[in-house]
Structures are given as structure tokens and as C-alpha cells.
Assembly symmetry: C2
């Protein structure tokens, strides 16, 4: 089957493209490339690596979702069976400084996508959402029907929440739609081969990318905000998941849409269903890297909650999906990616240019 | 001062334009005219009436908020001090059937507006929101800091909710913004002169427009959904407000922005703060029209709550605003408008054409 993958050059998208190719799907990727490294011909490096790893071709088009005309051309020239929608701006901090940029790019871009899907009758869509839609809820294990929206602290999270609502309304208005929203917990890891991973360009705001920064010597120590939470070691507990497990969840969702049909609108948590404390993650990263990570404890921040984990039971039941990687493997693979690609994708290109 | 009024040809917008002119503001109106009657030259009939009533000019431009280029031209050619943003699709039923149309028109249109405001440094905005953002909350009296978003039952309501969130994030990102969201309760009435009012084109889904339909003989009876609610007469209680009071609230909000400065982002309920039951409204409309309104009681609908009223205390305090019209006057004025304009604005135009 022929899948359109938006944002298929990015961190999660590229891992999903790899899995799709290995499952013998035809894949077209669109991206505006704003956060993706390319070679001198403008070809995304992540896809080049995937092609040589799988020995299969990816059809790539540089298309910005805000450019409705270009988007339409893509749909006119190909017959897609389903769309996997990863394209999104994703920096929490930037979204607070430039909310309009995020609302345009994520909301208007996605409205354009779904409008064109409707026009060309491609009514199977998988959307990358996030557990951030639960806001600062502190249930033991967040479930899909828990309240969302309230207390979301940034425009990035708002765009995920709003898009879920919009997609739900669209599916409700027309029974032909099949839309699955996957709410990911915190992504860690890289493909075990080390050929693709997260090519972080900006200052990281998640735990593991920050630890990587310390390991690389870019910052002298890891700042931990609060060791006085009501958890077993005093640091916050969060739900982490391997990026390949997330990619596999997308394929499972795709299979459900293809096999079941008429599912309307569904939402699934994609997480481990158990949490790890900040100190546990630090320890696992120390083990994986063989390096000691200096720490600095600061007072805990307003709004941070001690425990945020999501329950993946529904995904296990309906999508026949479960995680295959544990925390050690997440850390192993992210370290492997970093060691093989200390400067992300771009470095390889420089070397290619030098030797080519 | 020079005010830009989006949707200034419509029901609420036109009443606000009238008040602005009477307060000696210069007014530019933009509208895509999709729901507004015009003369053979394409001039909106509501504004023509306002001009002859006030003996003042309104600067009108046909601009769709989705047309960014035209919108920019408007800002380039004029220096606005503030924007009053009424333009919105508003049919609850249609929004459920065509959610994408509503998300485009209301969300993308408003994002375009605020982007252009930012570009041309017009950072004073008053936004027409609705008590619908409270969803089906059943507090005694809804207050501005009560939970919103949860249980909104239709895309129309979602667009109001989402825009409030977006505007809040925009104001938070840049201290120069002054944005006031006014959450209106259910609008009734028309200007006491009878020159402007609601020119309803589609099937009404509110109580008073439905009663008007019965009075006009377009439907044989008024359907009441449920007389077994836990209220004094068994029918639902809602908060109603005269459209001129809403227009005045906009002027009060404008004064606050002009006088206070640096208010950031504020929200105010604009309602009576007390409710009337369906049967009380029917009785008031019977008194105003002198006609008996036949009723048919049906089982109550899923999701309807017995009591929805909002507390306008904060608006009274900060905006120095309070209602001037009671239910009897709302009914008197809507009947007056209907009697003088049985076919809305269009009829007058037909007559003009005939006699002109």
C-alpha cells in the first residue's frame, strides 16, 4: 500500500518510514525541511540513509503543509491509501515565545492536510499526538478518556490538543473517516543500527538530550529541578518510550485502519505504562555511556508534578501493540547513535562532500 | 480614534458600529458578506441604515479574513487604534456538519487577523467569545476562571474556546498586546429604533428566533425539549442579554484598553447574571407580540443542562458596565425589528429598487 508520511525526515517520522519500508509499503515523504539536514542536492540525509540501509526507494517531495497548492499537487499525482502525520514544530520554549508561528504551522498546516485528504478521498489518518494533552494531571496512570486540555502549559501542547479535537469533529461529520491519534510519552532512543536518530539542532528541553549535552561536554552538569518530590528517590517520575516502539505503534494503528475499517475516531496512549525517576534515567545513561554525569540540584519548578505516566492497555488490546525496548535499550541506542553520529546527519554530508 | 470592526455588518457587529459612531469614533468595517444582505452596488444594507440613522459615514471594505493579502492592504491604507473582532461563522448545527469550514473560517481567519495586527503594530483587540466555552458546566453562576473547554459539544463552540487560548498565548508572548475576550450569554433584541437587528437567513437554533418563526407562521408550534428539569417551572433556565448591552460592553472594553494600557489578556462574562426559563421567555414574547404561542413538549435532549447563567460581576467592576435592558425590553425590541422588517434587510432593498 502507498503511504504518505508528513514530516517523514524527522526524528519519529524517519523511524516510521524505515518500518514501513521493511513492511513492504510504498512510501512518499513530504517535509518543509525546516529542521532536517540535507545534502547539496537538497535531499534529506535521514532518507538517504534509510534507502541505503533497506535497499528500497523513498519518494520525497519538499512540500510545506502551509502551501496548499503544492500539497494538492502531491495528492493529484499519487494515490495514497493512508496518511501518517508527523510534521510539527515541537519546541516547547519556542512555542511560548512565538505562539503564532506554532498555531500557523501546526494547526493551519494540519487543516490544509486534512482538507486535501478529504478532497482526494484519502480518509485514513494517523496523527502523532502527545501525553502533553493531559496537562498537569496526576492520575496514577493516565487513561485515554481522562480529562484533557485543562492546564496545558504551552502553545505546542495546545496545538496537539486542538488538533485532536478538530480531527474528532471531522471524523464525526463523515463516517468514511478513520482517524487514530497516538499520544506518545517521552521519546528516547534511536534505531538500533545507529543509522538514524534524533538530529537535535536547538537547545534541548528534555532530560535525555540534556544528559547527552553533558556527556558531550557542552554543559558542565545536569540540572535537576527538585529532589523533594513524593517519589521513592525524590525526583520526578515520567514515562519514556523507545522511538522504534513508537514507529511500530504507527504500523499497528495502520493495520487496524486497514483491517477493521469504519473505526471513526480513536485515541491510544503509547507509553511503557511505568515510569522512571530522573535519577534512574541518569544511572541508565551513565551505564550506557560509561561516563559519570555531574548533577546540580535546583529547587523544583512551579507546575512540575511528581508523576506522569500513561496506561497503554487499550493500545495493547486494540492495536496488538506493546513495547519491545526497555530503558537500558533506549539509553544504549541513543548513545550508539551519538557515538556514530556526534554531529548528527550533517557531518556525514561534509565527509561525503570531502571524499565525493 | 479609528476602529476596525470585523464582521461589522452582522447582528452584533452592526450594533457595535452604531454605538462607536455615536461615541464619535471613526469606523472601518470589513466583512466577507457571506451572511449579509447588500444593495445592487454590493453595499451592506445594515451599514446604509446606520449611516442614515447617525448621519455619519462608515468606511466599508469587502475583505475575507482568509484572504491575507486583502487584509494586509486594509491595514496598510489605514491607521487603526484598535480592532473589534466579530467576524465568525455561528451556526452550531452547520458547524457539526462542516467542521473544517468552521475551523478554517473562524480559526485561520482570526490567526490571519492577529498576524496582520502584529505586523502593523495594532495590538489592541476585543474578541467576541461566548459562554459556550464553559461547555455544559452547571455551576450556579459561571465565573471567568471556571474550567472551560471540557464538554463543548460542537465545533462552533470549540473555535471560540481555541481562539481564547490562542489570544492568551499571543498576549503572554508580547507585553504590548491588550486583548479582551467578552463571553456573551444568549443574545436577544435589536436596536430600539428598529433600524437594525438580526437578519436570520438559516433555520434558527435559538429559542427566541424559533418563537419568531412561530409568530410569523413559518412553523406551527414551538417545540420545548423537556419540562421535567429541576427548575421552578420545569423548563431550562438560561441567561439572555440585549444586543445593545453587548455593543455597549464592547465600548466599555475599548475604553479600558485605551485608558488602562498594559492590561495583557482579560476575559469578561457579558450576561444578565440571572436566568429566565423557557416558559418565561415564551410569556414575555407573547406579551410583546400580543400573540399566543402554541407549544409542544418533547422529551429533553441528551446533554441539555437545567441552568446556565454567567456572573457579570467582574465586567461591572473593571469595565464599568452593566445591563440597561431587561427581558421585556429585549422582547419588545426584537418584535419591533420584526414588525418593521418582516423580511430582514433585503426587503427594503427590493422596495428601494422598485421605487428608486
Amino acid at each position: 500500500m502507498h503511504m504518505l508520511v508528513t514530516g517523514g525526515t524527522g526524528y519519529i517520522g524517519s523511524h516510521c518510514v524505515l518500518e514501513l519500508l521493511q513492511s513492504n509499503h510504498t512510501v512518499t515523504v513530504i517535509s518543509n525541511l525546516v529542521n532536517s539536514a540535507t545534502d547539496y542536492k537538497g535531499q534529506p540525509l535521514s532518507l538517504k540513509r534509510i534507502e541505503s540501509f533497506t535497499n528500497k526507494k523513498v519518494n520525497f517531495k519538499k512540500v510545506d503543509l502551509l502551501d496548499l497548492q503544492e500539497l494538492e499537487k502531491t495528492f493529484k499525482s499519487e494515490n495514497f491509501d493512508a496518511v501518517l502525520h508527523f510534521a510539527s514544530l515541537k519546541s516547547v520554549g519556542e512555542s511560548c515565545r512565538e505562539p503564532l508561528k506554532y498555531y500557523y504551522s501546526n494547526i493551519v498546516g494540519s487543516l490544509n492536510l486534512i482538507s486535501v485528504c478529504k478532497k482526494y478521498n484519502v480518509k485514513n489518518l494517523i496523527f502523532s499526538s502527545s501525553v502533553t494533552v493531559y496537562g498537569t494531571s496526576t492520575h496514577c496512570l493516565l487513561k485515554e478518556d481522562d480529562a484533557i486540555g485543562e492546564k496545558i502549559t504551552n502553545p505546542y501542547g495546545q496545538t496537539k490538543y486542538m488538533l485532536e479535537k478538530m480531527f474528532k469533529d471531522v471524523a464525526k461529520s463523515d463516517k468514511d473517516w478513520n482517524i487514530i491519534c497516538l499520544r506518545y510519552s517521552i521519546l528516547v532512543g534511536a534505531h538500533p543500527s545507529g543509522i538514524i536518530g534524533e538530529d537535535q539542532k536547538c537547545v534541548p528541553n528534555n532530560l535525555v538530550p540534556n544528559i547527552i549535552h553533558v556527556i558531550k561536554g557542552k554543559i558542565p552538569y545536569l540540572t535537576i529541578f527538585g529532589n523533594d518530590f513524593n517519589t521513592f528517590d525524590g525526583t520526578c517520575v515520567r514515562d519514556y518510550i523507545h522511538v522504534t516502539d513508537v514507529a511500530r505503534a504507527n504500523l499497528c494503528a495502520l493495520n487496524r485502519i486497514i483491517e477493521e475499517k469504519n473505526i471513526g475516531f480513536e485515541i491510544y496512549n503509547i507509553g511503557m505504562g511505568k515510569g522512571y525517576s530522573v535519577l534512574e534515567v541518569v544511572k541508565a545513561m551513565e551505564n550506557a555511556s560509561g561516563k559519570k554525569i555531574p548533577l546540580k540540584i535546583m529547587p523544583h519548578r512551579v507546575g512540575d508534578v511528581e508523576y506522569l505516566c500513561c496506561d497503554p492497555t487499550l493500545a495493547a488490546k486494540n492495536l496488538k501493540w506493546s513495547t519491545q525496548f526497555n530503558l537500558e535499550e533506549m539509553c544504549r541506542d541513543v548513545i550508539n547513535w551519538q557515538q556514530k553520529n556526534p554531529h548528527g546527519y550533517v557531518n556525514e554530508d561534509h565527509e561525503n562532500l570531502k571524499t565525493g
